[in-house]
Amino acid sequence: MTLPDPFALAAAALLALGFYGFVVQRHPLRRLLAINVFGNGVFMTLILVARWMPGGPDPIPHAMVLTGIVIAVSATAMGLALVRRDLRQGDGKDGGDRD
C-alpha cells in the first residue's frame, strides 16, 4: 500500500467539484466556470498518466492536454459570447458594451 499522490487526489477533487458546480449552479457564467474546473481535472489526470511511462514523460498525453487547453478556451469563449447575448437580450437594447 503506497501513499496516494497528492496531485491524483487533487485531480479527483477537481472532477468532483466541477460536476457538483455544474449540477447545482444555475448562473450560466458559473456553469462555464464549473465546466472549466472539470476540464482542469481531466488535464491533471492526463498529466499524471503521462508520468508513468519509463524514460521521460509521455509526449502524447501532453500534446492532448495542450490541444485540450486551446479547445477549452475557444469553447468557453463561444459560451461567453452566447451568455452576453442571452443575458443582454432580456433587457431590450442598450447601446454600448459597458455599463
Binding site: 477533487a13 458546480g21 447545482v24 444555475r26 474546473v37 503521462a50 521521460g56 500534446a63 459570447a81 452576453r84
Partner: protein
C-alpha cells in the same frame, strides 16, 4: 518535496471549491484565475513545463480576461445569482453526495491504475530523430499527430465565427470611453510591455523546436500583446475586417493543408514530410499557426470582425 506538493494540491482543491461555491460571482472568477496559476505551478512540478506555460498564458491569462470582460459587460442585476438561484437544497445534497462518491471512485481508480507497457509515447520518443525537432511534444503536435492539430485549428476558427455571430449586434465600435485609460502610466504599459510581449511570444514559438514552448504558448502571448493594446486603447474593434486580417486568421490552416498537399506527390501520403525538409517546414508551420492563434484569440476578446487603430 512531498510537503510542497501536498500544500500545492490542497491549495488547488480549496481554490476549486471556492471557485464553484463562492457567493460572489466576481470572486468566483478571480479564484478561478488564481487556481489556473496554481495548476500551472503544479504542472511544472509534474514534468510538464510546456503545459504549465500554456495554462498560465491561455487557461489563466486569456480565459481570465475573457471571463472578467464578460462579467463586466453583463447588466448590473445579471451579475449575481438573483435571476439564476442555485438548485434547491435537496438537489444540492443529492449532487453533493453524488460528486463525493464520484470523486472517491476517481481517486481510487487513479491510485490503482497501472501503467501500460506499450504506450504510444514510447514509439514517438523512439522515432524522435525522424521528426525534425528535438522537443517531443512539438513533434507529436506538428508531425506524428498533425491531423489533430489541423482539426484543432479548425475548431478554433469555428468557435471564433460562432462567438462573432453571437456578439455582432452587441458590439459598440465607438471610441472607448473607458475609465483609467487616461492614466499617465498607460503609455508606459503600451510602449514598454507590448514590444517585450511580442519578443517573448516569438521566442516561445521558436523555442518550441528544442525546449518548452511552441505555437500555442507563443500564439497566446502574441494575442495577449494585442489584448494589452486594446485595453490601453491603442487598438479597438472594427466592424469590418481587412483582407490582410482575414488572411492572417486562416494562415495557419492554409499553410498546414498546403504543406500536406504539396508533399503528397513526393512522399505518397498526406502530411508526410521529406526527411531533409522536415525542420524548415515545421518551423514555418509553427509560426503560421502562432500568428493565426494570436489573431483568433485577440478577436475572441474584442468580439468584433476586425481591429483598427483608433483616430486620435
Amino acid at each position: 518535496m512531498i510537503l510542497f506538493d501536498g500544500v500545492l494540491a490542497l491549495l488547488i482543491v480549496v481554490l476549486a471549491w471556492r471557485c464553484v461555491t463562492a457567493g460572489d460571482l466576481y470572486l468566483g472568477i478571480v479564484v478561478f484565475i488564481v487556481m489556473g496559476l496554481m495548476l500551472a505551478l503544479s504542472w511544472a512540478r509534474l514534468d510538464a513545463p510546456d503545459l504549465a506555460l500554456a495554462e498560465a498564458a491561455i487557461g489563466a491569462g486569456l480565459l481570465g480576461v475573457l471571463l472578467l470582460s464578460t462579467w463586466r459587460a453583463l447588466p448590473g442585476h445579471r451579475r449575481q445569482d438573483r435571476d439564476h438561484p442555485p438548485a434547491r437544497k435537496a438537489v444540492r445534497w443529492l449532487a453533493g453526495v453524488a460528486s463525493v462518491a464520484f470523486g472517491l471512485v476517481m481517486a481510487a481508480l487513479l491510485h490503482a491504475l497501472q501503467p501500460d507497457e506499450d504506450a504510444a509515447g514510447a514509439l514517438a520518443l523512439g522515432r524522435l530523430t525522424e521528426a525534425g525537432v528535438e522537443q517531443p511534444v512539438t513533434a507529436v503536435l506538428l508531425n506524428f499527430r498533425s491531423y489533430d492539430t489541423l482539426l484543432e485549428m479548425g475548431v478554433l476558427l469555428m468557435a471564433l465565427i460562432g462567438a462573432l455571430l453571437a456578439r455582432t449586434p452587441l458590439a459598440p465600435y465607438g471610441a472607448a470611453t473607458d475609465d483609467g485609460t487616461d492614466s499617465p502610466l498607460i503609455p508606459v504599459l503600451a510602449t514598454t510591455f507590448t514590444p517585450l510581449l511580442l519578443l517573448v511570444g516569438a521566442f516561445l514559438v521558436w523555442a518550441g523546436a528544442y525546449g518548452p514552448g511552441g505555437a500555442f504558448q507563443g500564439g497566446a502571448v502574441l494575442g495577449g500583446a494585442g489584448v494589452v493594446l486594446v485595453l490601453c486603447n491603442r487598438l479597438q474593434g472594427a466592424p469590418e475586417a481587412g483582407i490582410l486580417l482575414r488572411l492572417l486568421l486562416v494562415l495557419g490552416v492554409k499553410v498546414f493543408i498546403l504543406a500536406g498537399l504539396l508533399m503528397l506527390p513526393l512522399e505518397g501520403a498526406f502530411m508526410a514530410y521529406p526527411p531533409g525538409l522536415t525542420y524548415p517546414i515545421m518551423i514555418a508551420i509553427e509560426f503560421c499557426l502562432a500568428t493565426s492563434i494570436a489573431v483568433s484569440l485577440l478577436l475572441l476578446f474584442t468580439g468584433t470582425h476586425g481591429v483598427r487603430v483608433p483616430e486620435r
